[in-house]
Amino acid sequence: MSSSSFRLFQFAAPARFYGLAGALIPWCWAAFAVLAAIGLWMGLFVAPTDATQGDAYRIIFIHVPAAWMSMLLYLVMAFWAAIGWAFNARLASMTARAIAPTGAMFTFLALWTGALWGRPTWGTWWVWDARLTSELILLFLYAGFLSLVSAIDDPRRADRAGALLAIVGAVNIPIIHYSVVWWNTLHQGASVSVTKGASMQSQMLAAMLLMALAFWMYSIAVTLVRVRCIIREREG
């Protein structure tokens, strides 16, 4: 094993990681601020007005990145929880627990901005569309994980039980999603097609990707802050 990878693994010790996280957090916040500022500026001022939806579509620059993050963070959380369980790595379990609230927040944000977007464009706050319903169920999965780990007092048992639930949830997400899609196609009626125009203007795409990167930085920063709190709580 080379010496550099050895140095990387030494940060798996919570006490060492605490210092590293402390050094990284300001940079993540700064990157978030810069990316979000450029992304919002491009999204709100540079990107052209949509031909059919007018300016109402601009919420997409929050909505879509938030929805991406909500799904990605569940998988990242399940991954770290599984690593923490399989290798008995405390830091990985702590990371999983630190990610969960942010993932739930992004899920809620995606639903909330979706409702705000749906009102002017579809004329309704909510439709039982396959994507919306799946996102709602994802929120339930996050809520289940958060309640389970907070209901168990022993941190080791909480980490492992949470890991098991996160893995079962991650395995089930595709099944739940496709069953909801199937259900939705059979109950067409009030539902509205959410598919957008075939091509997306390159400035819109750039703004959206910048916002997605900004949300990445935000998630990393918040997770690191939360991991530091958990390390202090558990290891004194």
Binding site: G144, L165, G169, V171, W183
Partner: protein, 226 residues
């Protein structure tokens, strides 16, 4: 039939028979919950016929979730669960077998009565004979899923303060496919379509759950009793 699997199964059934009031509670809940819907929605036969599959399925799901909380709690309280988990050698059951025996017992005590009672409610909701048969068939395929996933929830929340409410929050999202295919099959029959796709998917979900849930439940029991 003999052996440790049958012994655990027979023991759970005997325990249920000795506490008949407890064993009948899920059916009572199911009955009361379903009876609320006509009172809340109104007595129009057309509306009732339309919502009947969903109502019966949701009530069955909740009845299973409410009853499954006690699946391992009694054994944990009197210490027999730990004995069953540490037992090894000939004549004993491994964790997977234990989980399957407990889930089978739960299904026989809770799921099977629901399958038998459901047609009665089909009549009360003015469903056609074909749809009632489909309802019973989907419940027969779907309630084992509820027992298996419910067992996982019971093992995860073993000994926790608000275990019952937590179990519902954890397990209901995982049961959604069973609800969709189960209620969907009956609705398809009602609409004059073929329900074979629904049956196949429900059966596939049952097989998938039977393969995935027992190992996960065994792991959850190990986590909870360590």
């Amino acid at each position: 039939m003999s052996g440790p699997f049958a012994a655990i199964l027979a023991r759970d059934l005997r325990l249920a028979a000795r506490r008949r009031a407890d064993a009948l509670l899920p059916i009572a809940f199911f009955t009361v919950a379903i009876s609320l819907f006509p009172l809340g929605v109104g007595p129009e036969p057309q509306t009732l016929r339309q919502i009947a599959p969903g109502v019966v399925w949701v009530a069955a799901l909740l009845a299973a979730m409410l009853s499954v909380t006690q699946l391992y709690a009694g054994d944990l309280a009197d210490g027999s669960l730990e004995q069953m988990l540490v037992a090894s050698g000939p004549g004993t059951l491994d964790k997977l077998g234990l989980v399957l025996a407990k889930a089978a017992a739960h299904w026989l005590v809770t799921g099977l009565p629901l399958v038998i009672v459901a047609p009665l409610f089909g009549l009360m909701f003015d469903m056609r004979g074909e749809a009632i048969a489909s309802l019973a068939l989907t419940l027969a395929l779907g309630t084992p899923v509820l027992s298996l996933l419910g067992g996982l929830g019971a093992a995860l929340t073993l000994g926790l303060r608000s275990g019952a409410a937590l179990l519902i929050l954890l397990i209901v999202p995982l049961c959604i496919p069973a609800l969709i295919f189960g209620a969907g099959a009956v609705a398809a029959i009602d609409a004059g379509q073929s329900a074979r796709g629904h049956y196949s998917l429900l059966g596939a979900f049952l097989i998938f759950t039977a393969l995935v849930a027992p190992p996960a439940t065994a792991a959850a029991l190990r986590i909870a009793t360590e």
